[in-house]
């Protein structure tokens, strides 16, 4: 089985979010970038397929040279090869087109993406890739088993879960549950050394149009101070009469 894991290069979850250039660009100053957490659950599941079922695992990212440390980390975790598509990620559709091209050319059986990236929260790339390459698609995937060309997936739905039977080629939008938090791997020294010599291929982009364009960013209005209450009675009273929430 050939697996392609799509890696989004995102600010660490603890990052302070600021903008520059008249609020038109994300301020990367002092920001630590990581593998998108939803993608990391998928990558770790891919490692399981590699170790138990002999799968080959490639990782791919759309972005400039500054995203290469994130791909190297994925190699250190155990991916066999990395591909960087050398263009800025502008919108969900154009990224999906680049990834779909790689997925098609490489003849991957399984493409693993994340439910959403934690920066732009678009949640559209895996579904678009699936449609563009004519593969099946499971979103918010929390469990995946593959046998031959058949797959059984569990997806999270609002208030529960659903078990699906489908076939390869398959694209998933993964999240926690594919593996547990405790299964995530911190690259060890051997992995890091090996990652240095594993192939990281830079590929030039195909023509792809954007369908959306972000004009500006803004931060939420500052919040007023918390109202501290001393008694349960006062809390109930405020929630009922002032906040009108109960």
């Amino acid at each position: 089985m050939k697996i392609l894991v799509c890696i989004s290069h995102v600010p660490d979850t603890t990052s302070k979010i600021n903008f520059t250039d008249g609020d038109t660009k994300f301020d990367t100053n002092g920001v630590q970038f990581v593998i998108n957490p939803n993608d990391e659950f998928g990558l770790t599941r891919a490692m399981w397929f590699k170790e138990k079922q002999g799968a080959t695992v490639h990782v791919v990212n759309v972005g400039g040279p500054e995203t290469e440390p994130t791909l190297r980390k994925a190699l250190a975790i155990g991916a066999d090869e990395a591909i960087r598509i050398n263009t800025a990620a502008t919108d969900g559709f154009s990224v999906a087109k680049q990834l779909a091209n790689v997925a098609k050319e490489g003849g991957y059986d399984l493409v693993i993406g994340g439910r959403e990236s934690i920066d732009y929260n678009g949640g559209m790339v895996p579904g678009m890739v699936a449609k563009l390459i004519g593969a099946n698609f499971v979103n918010t995937c929390i469990n995946l088993e593959v046998e031959g060309d058949k797959a059984t997936a569990i997806r999270e739905i609002d208030g529960g879960k659903e078990t699906l039977k489908t076939s390869l080629p398959l694209v998933i939008g993964g999240q926690k549950g594919l593996v547990e938090e405790s299964d995530l791997r911190i690259p060890n020294m051997r992995g890091i050394m090996q990652a240095r010599t594993k192939p990281l291929n830079v590929k030039e982009p195909v023509d792809a149009n954007s369908e959306t364009s972000t004009v500006s960013f803004e931060k939420p209005a500052p919040k007023g101070d918390v109202k501290l209450v001393d008694s349960v009675d006062e809390l109930i009273n405020l929630l009922h009469n002032e906040a009108k929430a109960i």
């Binding site: 979010i17 559709f93 739905i157 609002d158 879960k161 489908t166 369908e211 960013f217 803004e218 918390v226």
Partner: protein
């Protein structure tokens, strides 16, 4: 024409669908056009007119009894084409988010999710949506001929707008590829409120010391008709199921009221609940970061406060029933 997909569950139109109709009517008024709703296997669509739909396309097909992203996207896409829709409104439900990218590719339409208000301009078509898990907003222009927007839950609200709606049966052409996926089983609690649908969410953190202490949290949720949730450490330690984990890598919460008990308020947790309207924190540590994010706070021992809160809320509910 604005097309809105009105989701139903076991035949009943969902509340978020009514919010989507309200929002679609808002855009229709901006653009001087009308709203058509498309409903799949809904028993009763008469409510949709009340929120501004002037036409309802009713699809009824036993093959669509269970959600199927590919097939549902085809139904909505074909409805959009036959109606000549320029804008399609979806919600932020798991099913809407599943089908939206497929629909976007089918219609070559630009898609923006998590939209929080009406477009600031319809030509060019510009919407504000939450990004960085509610830590910021982006103003984004959709440049394609057809536009798809997914509205964030509770961001627009229900707005009544009595319209007389006509109803039409609509049949989509579906082929074998639409059913390459088979739903084997659905495991869904029917007696509890889900985080996605809840008006009120009651959430517990590490301060509760162990899973055996969740009885009072469940009781509080029960009194308020609320869903229960938890912080990341609580789900990582297995005290509560992953499906209750709220935060940046868990579920987002956009309820009217969010009550956090024994949760210190890590930045990732606060991001996940930021879209909630009223936030209450109960914590014994006055320095807990949650107090900076909350509207109301009570410093003290949850094991004393929560039982008293439950008792008094029961009395309050009895009086205000």
């Amino acid at each position: 024409m604005i097309l809105v997909y009105t989701e139903s569950e076991e035949g009943k139109i969902k509340k978020i669908a009514l919010e989507a109709v309200s929002y679609a009517k808002g855009i229709a008024d901006q653009m001087g056009t009308s709203v058509t709703a498309v409903a799949i296997n809904a028993n009763d669509t008469s409510e949709l007119g009340k929120y501004g739909a002037s036409k309802v396309l009713e699809v009824s097909d036993d093959k669509l009894n269970k959600f199927n992203g590919e097939a549902y996207a085809d139904v909505i896409g074909q409805a959009a084409k036959s109606e000549g829709a320029k804008v399609i409104v979806l919600t932020s439900s798991a099913n809407s988010k599943f089908l939206a990218p497929t629909l976007a590719v089918n219609l070559e339409a630009g898609f923006v999710p998590n939209v929080v208000e009406l477009p600031s301009s319809t030509s060019p078509f510009k919407v504000k949506h939450s990004v960085f898990t509610n830590k910021a907003f982006a103003n984004t222009e959709i440049t394609t001929d057809i536009k798809i927007v997914g509205i964030g839950k509770n961001s627009y609200g229900l707005k009544e707008n009595e319209t007389s709606a006509t109803t039409e049966a609509f049949t989509a052409n579906l082929d074998a590829h639409d059913f390459d996926m088979e739903v084997v089983s659905v495991d869904k609690a029917t007696d509890t409120v889900t985080i996605a649908d809840a008006e009120i969410v009651v959430s517990g953190g590490r301060g509760l010391k162990g899973p055996e202490n969740w009885g009072m949290i469940e009781e509080l949720a029960d009194i308020l008709g609320a869903a229960t949730a938890c912080s990341k450490p609580v789900s990582d330690m297995g005290w509560r199921p992953h499906s209750e984990h709220v935060g940046q890598t868990g579920k987002p919460v956009a309820s009217n009221l969010y009550i956090a008990i024994g949760i210190s308020g890590a930045i990732q947790h606060l991001a996940g609940i930021n879209a909630s309207k009223v936030k209450v924190v109960i914590n014994n540590d006055p320095e807990a970061p949650f107090f900076k994010a909350a509207d109301y706070g009570m410093v003290g021992d949850a094991f004393e406060i929560v039982p008293e809160l439950n008792k008094k809320l029961k009395e309050f509910k009895a009086q205000n029933a």
